[in-house]
């Protein structure tokens, strides 16, 4: 069916021409709404099974901090899913970047913000390198980033051994413990105190808003999406596709670095194991939220909800005292069920759209 020469008549049979995603879907078919309902049901379920789930200090505040990390992890993957690419090195990019932050705090004694910026620059740089390799060689992003991940795995271990003699920096830059333990409830103006929201939450919210604006309104983000939608057409429309590929991967690396920083803040340490748990959640959050692996469309809100769902399940099962192994098993099953339901929902919506058109 794919013709090099000019196709006679439309090469696509008419039935397949309007993509299902292009139709106006019924409200219930919106994947974001579905996620919101599933999250609400689970919260009710977990809090009725164990009241500790609603404890603001022991459960809800740490849950928000975890969600913040994994929203940013999901955004790091979303940045390249927009192209139809993958970043298999998302965890190790975070690890290398947090190493750079730790080193800056430890050896140079820089303030918290400066160290963060150093780490973000390293993340963006390594992401840009991946993007450059992909754009110039034309090798599949999966392969390039997988190889990069493997290389970085070794490099990060070597670097930590060299710099710390172990697997973690001992340094505690000032402000880190506030990010770790404080919520806005700890800051009062007179009698009025803030809500019990950890300080890391607004960082993740800002990242999500930034990425959202980028892909919805910025020329750069839109051109990345167009490149993901149809690279040949993008190039023939005057979009510098190579540079857009590099930019998307740099953004992915930058967000991975930010996620690494947030996790380091939550853990209270810059250590070599940061990013180990990033890979699977990085795909789950955007995919649950309705972002296609094919590229050309992203949903930032969906990614945030997807990350929230995974963390709610995790926290709930944890509180119900499932062992670590059981936890993994059940999370896998629940996510599989969620993804199947999502597919079922999409199929039903598609069928309804077809029968009503």
């Amino acid at each position: 069916m794919k013709t090099e020469t000019a196709p006679e008549a439309p090469a696509v049979p008419p039935a397949a021409e309007p993509r299902p995603s292009a139709r106006a879907l019924p409200v219930w078919a919106n994947p974001r709404l579905g996620l919101l309902i599933v999250i609400a049901v689970l919260v009710v379920l977990f809090s009725s099974l164990t009241p500790a789930f609603l404890d603001p200090r022991l459960t809800l505040a740490p849950l928000q901090a975890d969600i913040s990390v994994y929203v940013v992890v999901g955004l790091a993957q979303l940045a390249v899913l927009s192209l139809g690419h993958m970043n298999m090195a998302v965890g190790r990019m975070a690890a290398l970047s947090t190493f750079a932050m730790g080193l800056a705090y430890d050896r140079l004694g820089v303030p918290l913000l400066v160290g963060l910026l150093v780490g973000l620059a390293v993340g963006a740089g390594i992401g840009a390198l991946a993007g450059l390799l992909i754009a110039k060689t034309g090798v599949n992003s999966f392969v390039v980033t997988l190889a990069l991940d493997f290389g970085l795995l070794g490099l990060v271990t070597i670097l930590y051994t060299w710099a710390t003699g172990g697997v973690s920096f001992a340094v505690q830059p000032s402000g880190l413990s506030a990010l770790r333990f404080d919520t806005f409830a700890d800051y009062c103006m007179g009698e009025v105190c803030g809500p019990r929201i950890p300080l890391v939450v607004p960082i993740a919210v800002a990242a999500a808003l930034g990425v959202g604006v980028l892909f919805r309104h910025a020329r750069l983000g839109r051109e990345i999406l167009m490149t993901g939608s149809n690279t040949v057409a993008a190039e023939l429309s005057g979009i510098p596709t190579h540079r857009r590929v590099v930019a998307a991967h740099a953004l992915s690396g930058l967000l991975a670095a930010l996620a690494g920083f947030l996790l380091a803040a939550n853990n209270g340490a810059f250590s070599a194991n940061i990013g180990e748990s990033f890979l699977l959640p990085s795909f789950l959050a955007p995919v649950l939220g309705g972002t296609l692996l094919a590229g050309g469309a992203v949903s930032v809100l969906g990614t945030a909800l997807g990350a929230t769902l995974t963390q709610v399940i995790y926290k709930g099962l944890n509180l119900l005292q499932f062992s670590l192994e059981e936890l993994k098993l059940y999370i896998g099953l629940v996510l599989l069920a969620a993804l199947s339901l999502d597919r079922l929902r999409a199929l039903l919506a598609e069928r309804r759209a077809v029968s009503s058109s």
Binding site: A6, P7, A9, M226, V232, P240, G296
Partner: protein
């Protein structure tokens, strides 16, 4: 003569275009039947119906039953077609490289014994098919070790493996050398001596005349010659039938181009890494210069080289009198105001899963953006403006481009260049796969753009379109310009001159 396949008044419509409009094809046993037509004439659609890929919307397909009587049949899928004795060799390879020759040949019906592959039977069956072609190939050889020509022959053996009586060959020699093509056609002739009917689709008229005995010519989905003996026709007559001498010419308002105006685009003895040589052209503001040639003459390739997708190896390109070095399409657009409306709108021109708004505004985000951000409202205003100007029928600017009809899609792929305010536009096959009425509207549109001062290089293999639109027609053949004619809009005279250029690379300059 026994009729082995009869397709009667087949109709097939796609949104916005009638690909087949009562097309008829009759095949007799032992014939080599050429199926000819320009791009968009409906050949591929017809072949897809014969091989069960598409179902016709009207007309019927009749094949002989066991008693030899013709009966109407429905081919629901490619397997049905195969069972009915219709084998096909598509333009693209359909072999599995890691499998052996024998496995590939018998892929659709692998012989089994007790549920396992019967290797002995497989080899015997493959041998039988290879013998039909007098082909001495080791059936156990993996296909990946074969040459291009051998692959082609294995494809034919595969098509014959289901006891096919009808063999469809779609551009079988496109990737073969002349010797290999000769060998292939020797085999086709032998098959016809044994009673097989062969349908040959080819753009190479020399080969068609050397091999085929009967011909059907399609134009705009209709059979304009039905199973006529090829010997009754000269090559010129066939080309005339293909391009449509009887075409009713639309007369557009005459335009005048000032002869002393500096050309907007000049190609001076340009050679490219794609293989062009000695290409000289000049397009003045307000002028439409046609670049005519058959498929494969190198016209789109020239446009792409001009836009930096291939390198210009010698010669000079000048835009508004200044030497131009165009590195990519962005460069062409932003520095030189040159736009390129691509030939394959679905693959190269449009983002089918994106909104019409984005498809139109993609070239102007740079201009619309304030601090890197694009406001939806400015984009929407722009889209509405061009939808009005070009008569694009939209439910909403947020409609996806894939939902539009072919004609509207083509207008969207043109709109993005108009929005970008280009003053040189290269338009490549603007009306392929577009019905006659929309086509006329398009011609008026293009003429209107020229009247407003745009310099247009029109690439087309639709000769009537050329004669209607162009001020001058440059003829390209094998990556070189073989002649240039002033268009006097007299179709008969122009088509004769142009066809003469195409055939022998020389002609009378009118």
């Amino acid at each position: 003569m026994t009729v082995v396949l009869s397709a009667e008044k087949l109709v097939k419509t796609f949104p916005g275009v009638r690909a087949l409009d009562e097309a008829t094809l009759t095949l007799t046993a032992g014939s080599v039947h050429a199926l000819l037509g320009e791009n968009g004439a409906g050949k591929s659609t017809l072949i897809k119906i014969l091989t069960g890929v598409y179902r016709p919307d009207g007309g019927q397909l009749r094949l002989p039953g066991p008693d030899g009587e013709l009966r109407a049949v429905q081919l629901g899928n490619p397997q049905d077609a195969q069972r009915a004795g219709i084998g096909v060799v598509h333009q693209e390879r359909n072999l599995i490289p890691a499998f052996s020759v024998a496995e590939n040949i018998c892929l659709q019906h692998l012989p089994r014994r007790a549920g396992l592959l019967d290797r002995a039977a497989l080899r015997t069956e493959a041998r039988r098919c290879l013998d039909l072609l007098d082909l001495d190939l080791d059936p156990d050889l993996p296909v990946s070790r074969l040459s291009v020509a051998q692959l082609q022959l294995v494809e034919i053996a595969k098509a014959l493996s289901a006891d096919s009586t009808v063999l469809l060959l779609d551009e079988p020699t496109a990737s073969l050398t002349n010797d290999e093509a000769d060998r292939l056609y020797g085999i086709v002739r032998r098959l016809s001596e044994r009673g097989h009917a062969t349908v040959l689709v080819s753009h190479k008229l020399e080969e068609v005349f050397a091999v085929a005995d009967t011909v059907t010519v399609l134009r705009d989905g209709r059979s304009v010659a039905e199973a006529e003996p090829l010997a009754d026709h000269s090559r010129e007559e066939i080309v005339d039938l293909m391009v449509g001498r009887a075409y009713q010419q639309v007369h557009l308002a005459p335009r005048t181009v000032a002869a002393d105006v500096e050309p907007a685009l000049v190609l001076d003895a340009v050679a490219t890494t794609a293989g062009h040589h000695d290409v000289s052209l000049a397009v003045r503001p307000g002028e439409i210069v046609g670049l005519y040639g058959l498929v494969g003459a190198g016209r789109s390739e020239l446009a792409k080289a001009l836009l930096g997708l291939d390198r210009i190896s010698s010669g000079e390109v000048r835009v508004h009198g200044r030497p131009a070095r165009i590195r990519d399409v962005g460069d062409a657009l932003h520095r030189y105001r040159i736009g390129y409306v691509t030939e394959n709108r679905k693959e190269e021109g449009l983002f089918l899963d994106q909104t019409v708004a984005r498809n139109t505004a993609v070239t102007v985000w740079r201009r619309l953006a304030r601090l890197g951000l694009v406001r939806d409202r400015s984009e929407r205003l722009l889209v509405n403006e061009y939808a009005d100007r070009l008569g694009i029928r939209l439910a909403s600017p947020d409609q996806h481009a894939g939902q539009l009809s072919g004609g509207n899609q083509q207008k969207v792929s043109l709109a993005k260049w108009l929005a970008a305010d280009c003053d040189v536009l290269i338009i490549d096959e603007p009306t392929v796969g577009i019905d006659v009425r929309t086509k006329a509207a398009f011609h008026e549109l293009i003429a209107g753009l020229a009247a407003r001062g745009m310099a247009i290089l029109l690439i087309s293999s639709d000769l009537p379109e050329m004669v209607t639109l162009a001020d001058r027609i440059a003829v390209m053949r094998v990556f070189a310009i073989v002649g240039e004619l002033d268009n006097d809009h007299d179709y008969d005279r122009m088509s004769q001159s142009v066809i003469r250029f195409i055939h022998d690379g020389q002609g009378v300059v009118a």
